[in-house]
């Protein structure tokens, strides 16, 4: 399977005004291009999945994760993860 520069950003937590803006803000600041956003509500919690491309990013995935973690901590009660897309493609696609 080909390895791309795509990542999956997952946001899990209580919904609130400005949540999407905060997360996408971090991505924009670091040159990460958003390809797709979808969201669903699970028992009052928001689950947002962002598929993004790191080709033009100014940082590597590990640094981006640290920045997203920091944003999650700042917002409080929100877990923001970022993983290489292959972690999901390998599991769910042959």
């Amino acid at each position: 399977m080909l390895s791309s520069n795509r990542i999956i950003v997952s946001v899990l937590g209580e919904d609130r005004v400005g949540l999407i803006a905060s997360v996408t803000g971090v991505l924009a600041e670091n040159g990460v291009n958003i390809l797709d956003i979808s969201q669903t509500v699970l028992q009052e919690f928001l689950a947002m999945i962002i598929i993004a491309d790191m080709t033009g990013a100014s940082v590597d995935l590990i640094t981006l994760k640290e920045r997203l973690d920091a944003k999650g901590a700042e917002l409080g009660g929100v877990r923001i993860g970022a993983q290489h897309e292959d972690a999901f493609l390998y599991m769910h696609r042959i």
Binding site: I8, S10, L12, D36, S38, Q39, T40, L42, A47, I49, I51, L61, I62, K65, G81, A82, Q83, H84, E85, D86, A87, F88, L89, Y90, M91, H92, R93
Partner: protein
Amino acid sequence: MLSVEEILETINMIQEENLDIRTITMGISLRDCNDRDSDELCDRVYRKITGLAGRLVEVGEQLEREFGIPIVNKRIAVTPVALLVDGRSREDCIYLARTLDRAAAEVGVNFIGGYSALVHKGFTSGDRRLIDTIPIVLAETERVCSSVNVATTAAGINMDAVALMGKIIKETALRTADRDAIGCAKLVVFANAPEDNPFMAGAFHGIGEPECVINVGVSGPGVVKNAVAKLPDADLGALAELIKKMSFKITRMGELIGRRAAERLGVPFGIVDLSLAPTPAVGDSVAEIIEAMGIERCGAPGTTAALALLNDAVKKGGAMASSYVGGLSGAFIPVSEDSGMIRAVECGALNLEKLEAMTAVCSVGMDMIVVPGDTSAETLSALIADGIAIGVINRKTTAVRVIPVPGKKVGDYVEFGGLLGRSPVMSISRFSSAEFVRRGGRIPAPIQSLTN
């Protein structure tokens, strides 16, 4: 495009159900390190291990962060050391073991396997010397793991080796008595030992293996247990189907991480070991899968059938998910490392005899079993012989890891800590097998071995 549900399923498996990569194990051949001079041999061994595995931990940690999946252990397996010590002294063997320990510490791995001998048909002088030093090596080193293959389906059972291992286990227990005989947790007795097993304590880099290789062991009993628990009314065929799907998903993660690790370290990718490996963490238990299938407590009648179903379904799903499967590839049922197994022993549902039966349908049946300190060497040997015979006759790997803790009696507790867990001391038959063990010799290869 991936769906939100698929992405959430993966995240849930990792965050809530303890899905992890249990180990990335680098296999390293030491055959080119041999030299007449033992100091030179040890220097070469140290340089080779630290050279090849220098980045193993760093790469493992990188992959953990990028793919968001924990990689619990990074480990090293080397050529069975017995192959390097023919003609050397006891002191040379111990010095070599210390060198392995030092190299493992230098590269930051918690275990290095391969202080091993393959004696299924008989001993060389080096094999004997190495085995004699196992107790002192396991007592005096921190990271070195040892294994001895005493039987194969093709060769039969070397009962002299089985008898010897009973004594070696006793001596190892005595030498580590102050730490609840932890030395025995690092010593495995095998039948049909695989050459590419990534799991400790039995990992070694077999003689058919390349110069250096990356093997991966996956885990994920929690994922399977939760899936099974969601289908309380499904029949067993449907359950097997579900377990296959879960095993496929778990194994794909192992395949991904193994391939990426091999690429980044510049060595070939070997195999994914399709074992369900429990940890003492709640919800990461193989016994709980059996209980979720409808057995009140692991060990009750039906347990062997449930384990057979589980083990087979894991293999079928996993075999589809990986291009190369190897190692032990069967569910592990180590008592002290599985909270459900511990509970089953505590409440009297699970005993040694049932574990022996379960050995017939999984990979390492009698694993991390704590028995009273006054168990005789002959009884330990006879217990090993039983486990080994199941492997030899059924053309499969079996392994015995038994821990006779000095001063402990049935009902006492032993705490090993970390992934090795804790365990109540189990009852073992008080009837003697000494005369049988003392006969020695070799049990001939079974008729099943004549396949040509």
